[in-house]
């Protein structure tokens, strides 16, 4: 039986993309798989009694070494802020390519804590900073110093000791360009070095908290229990900076979604599932319930989604345990069709993620296809005709063409870059200034405009001649030729409409990172947790591949 790939017109809608969950394809999970046989070391631990100073961790295999340099700083409570306008953080980090020399460590000491206003070099790969969750951090220090383990209820509620507020890579602030390292086998997967940084930062948070507790009371202090460490991750506050990324990298977006869609299609085409596969699927699903019940958020929007998800998943569990016969042919296809018929988007995508769990042989080869050499698809095929372009648009953007951009509600917002932080922002064009400097992220509106002009243009005209008079539509002309080859490269929605929820775009990207427990703090930023439940570096050589659900 052949199953069709899901329709991009449905899957690429923002509400659906904003319902995606982490899966076996997620970057933090594939990072752990790739680096499980690398040697982990703590190369330097130079902290004072208050936990301020320098720490270095490394991953090494043969001649290749990646070193995380951590600079822990003393800042006052008033200076601590997760907002992008902050200028000081509890700790700042960079992932260095190789073993840093003393002069590298000193050079970076002056630059890394300054983050966006510092300068990195081609020897550094990623850059980040993080703030303590002060309430949790101080509680843990206090308890450990008294020889007690911390209150698990408090820890579960927050889920981390530190949260990062930005992770930069790919040439930002002088960091190494991707092309310098793209042929390395071990990083043949998106954001692998960013994942490494966050993973090593997590270890730093445990080592720092133990160190401070020990100094506070050398005679009574105990170390944070490894099982508790394992259940702590790294928090992250994420704003709109992430949203334009998925619009600006269409072939990369396609490759992420395509991998997930191909995996789902191949799983639906399995005629008979083995008992082991069924067991993994059911167990993952059952165990995952606690990830939903421990999902804390004050966001009414997210709370509604969680409640609906929990209700839907419990009903689905009852269905597969009491009514569904896994002996039937094409069991996962039947499950999928049942979900489409009966359940909400959030639940469908949750179970789709779960379906990937038992099928390493399908998922692992797809992970290697999730990167993209974007320059390869940049040049517009200008020998094609206006008719070709019009047909592509009518086929690939059929829903977009139905949007009426004469209505104010459909072009209410605009994207711009803020002058003070050079960060993407989203604003109401009728209430705020700056829409004349709008970023080219209103793809739906511009595609519609392109289509209208194409309708009035001679079919046989070639694109080189068309662009002479229509240079303002060059960016969407390029995109249309990209989507011809990459069906999942475009969000099939209006990104400037009144009803847009920008965090849906963040959620899509974060789900591919492997984030858990999305906690929207507004419609423009959210908090998440990464690596919660993940194996500790010392356990990497042999860990449970389904740790997300079994921790």
């Amino acid at each position: 039986m052949k199953v069709q790939l899901r329709d991009p017109n449905i899957i690429m809608k923002l509400s659906r993309l904003g319902s995606f969950h982490q899966s076996k394809l997620s970057f933090l999970r594939s990072f752990l798989d790739e680096f499980k046989d690398w040697e982990f070391k703590n190369d330097l631990f130079d902290l004072d009694e208050n936990g301020f100073g320098t720490v270095i961790y490394s991953f090494k295999k043969k001649d290749r070494v990646y070193s995380l340099i951590c600079y822990a700083n003393n800042i006052s409570d008033e200076e601590r802020s997760d907002r992008v306008i902050a200028t000081k953080w509890d700790a700042a980090f960079t992932l260095h390519d190789g073993i840093p020399s003393k002069s590298d460590i000193e050079r970076l000491r002056n630059e890394v804590p300054r983050q966006e206003v510092g300068r990195l070099s081609y020897k550094e790969l990623t850059l980040s900073r993080a703030n303590k969750s002060v309430r949790v951090f101080n509680h843990v220090v206090d308890r450990l110093s008294k020889g007690q383990q911390p209150d698990l209820e408090l820890l579960n509620k927050v889920g981390y000791l530190y949260r990062t507020t930005a992770v930069y890579g790919s040439g930002k602030f002088g960091l190494a360009d991707r092309f310098r390292i793209k042929n390395r086998e071990e990083i043949n997967g998106p954001f692998r070095l960013e994942m490494m940084l966050v993973y090593l930062v997590r270890q730093f948070t445990f080592d720092q908290v133990n160190h401070i507790a020990k100094f506070k009371s050398p005679k009574t202090a105990v170390k944070l229990d490894n099982r508790i460490c394992k259940n702590l991750g790294i928090g992250n506050s994420t704003g709109l900076g992430m949203a334009p990324f998925i619009v600006n990298h269409p072939t990369l977006l396609n490759n992420w979604i395509m991998s997930r869609e191909v995996a789902l299609k191949e799983i639906r085409e399995i005629k008979k599932a083995s008992p082991e596969e069924i067991k993994i699927f059911k167990e993952s699903l059952r165990n995952s319930i606690k990830n939903i019940t421990s999902w804390n958020t004050e966001s009414e929007y997210q709370q509604k989604k969680i409640n609906s998800l929990l209700d839907n998943i419990q009903k689905f569990l009852r269905f597969i345990e009491k009514k569904f016969n896994f002996e039937t042919d094409y069991p996962f296809n039947r499950i999928y069709l049942w979900l489409e018929e009966n359940k909400c988007e959030e639940c469908i995508e949750y179970v789709v993620s779960m379906m990937l769990e038992p099928f390493d042989d399908i998922v692992k080869p797809l992970i290697r296809k999730m990167s993209s050499d974007e320059d390869q698809y940049f040049t517009i095929p200008t020998d094609r005709t206006v008719e070709d372009l019009r047909i592509i648009i009518e086929k690939r953007y059929s829903n977009i063409l139905k949007i009426n951009f004469e209505k104010k509600e459909n072009y209410k917002n605009f994207w711009f870059i803020s002058k003070n932080k050079e960060e993407p922002r989203y604003a109401d064009r009728f209430e705020e200034n700056g829409s004349d400097l709008e970023q080219p992220l209103a793809i739906a509106r511009d595609i519609k405009k392109l289509h209208e002009i194409l309708l009035k243009t001679k079919n046989s005209l070639t694109i080189d001649k068309f662009l002479i008079e229509n240079a303002d539509l060059r960016h969407v002309t390029r995109r249309a030729f990209i989507i011809e080859k990459f069906p999942y490269s475009e969000i099939q929605d209006n990104t400037i409409g009144e009803k847009v929820i920008p965090i849906d775009m963040l959620r899509l990207k974060l789900s591919f990172f492997g984030a858990l427990k999305f906690d929207p703090r507004s419609d423009k930023w959210l908090r998440i947790c990464m690596f919660q439940g993940a194996p500790l570096p010392k356990d990497l050589k042999n860990f449970d591949p389904h740790w997300v659900y079994n921790s």
């Binding site: 070099s121 517009i380 001649k465 240079a471």
Partner: protein, 203 residues
């Protein structure tokens, strides 16, 4: 040192700011990135050009022909470059394309370099005493690498080079003969057992 990603982004934003469309600005960002990657002064020339552009008029040529004459102003190298790139498949037939006046000619090179990749042919560019060989967008060879490129080029000449060997038949034969020293003489029995042996070739 600035990363190529920073060079691309800043060039793109500056290009939008001086009046190019976003789609054109994307092309310019990539183009300056390429020039800097190949060791040419892309940022310096772009910055100089955009500062002059505020007060000085440059000619925009839309449809490129074999011989292009601007009576007054110098051609804008960016519009020219983008149009050359877009029209390369129809320009290929001319073999030689001339422009009498091009401002900041260096800025046009990366568009020609990408054009060379599209048609799969090397492109030779000459103006004043400068000469460039654009090799299928893999690299650019030049006699100008460490010198400033002229701000204006009079008689800018583009030659599309047909794909042909860069060496004589004699050189090739001589080298091939040396390479034969790695071959082993076959015995009769190995000839009889080789692929296709024992079958009729007329089946």
């Amino acid at each position: 040192m600035k990363s190529l990603s920073e060079i691309d982004t800043t060039s793109k934003r500056a290009s939008k700011a001086v009046g190019f469309s976003w789609g054109e600005a994307e092309e310019i960002g990539k183009s300056i990135r390429l020039l800097e990657l190949f060791g040419f002064q892309g940022i310096k020339n772009l910055n100089h050009y955009y500062n002059l552009k505020i007060n000085q008029k440059f000619e925009n040529l839309s449809l490129i022909k074999a011989n292009n004459i601007s009576k007054n102003n110098y051609y804008c190298p960016i519009t020219l470059g983008i149009n050359f790139l877009d029209q390369i498949r129809s320009l290929e037939k001319y073999k030689q394309i001339k422009f009498n006046k091009v401002a900041f000619p260096l800025l046009m090179l990366s568009f020609l370099s990408r054009s060379s990749e599209i048609i799969g042919k090397k492109i030779n560019v000459r103006f004043d005493d400068a000469e460039f060989l654009l090799n299928l967008n893999v690299n650019i060879a030049s006699n100008l690498l460490n010198n400033d490129c002229p701000i204006n080029a009079d008689n800018f000449e583009v030659n599309i080079i047909d794909n042909k060997d860069n060496f004589s038949e004699e050189d090739w034969k001589s080298l091939y003969k040396i390479s034969e020293q790695t071959f082993v003489e076959e015995t009769d029995s190995s000839k009889q057992g080789a692929a296709g042996a024992g079958l009729t070739d007329n089946d």
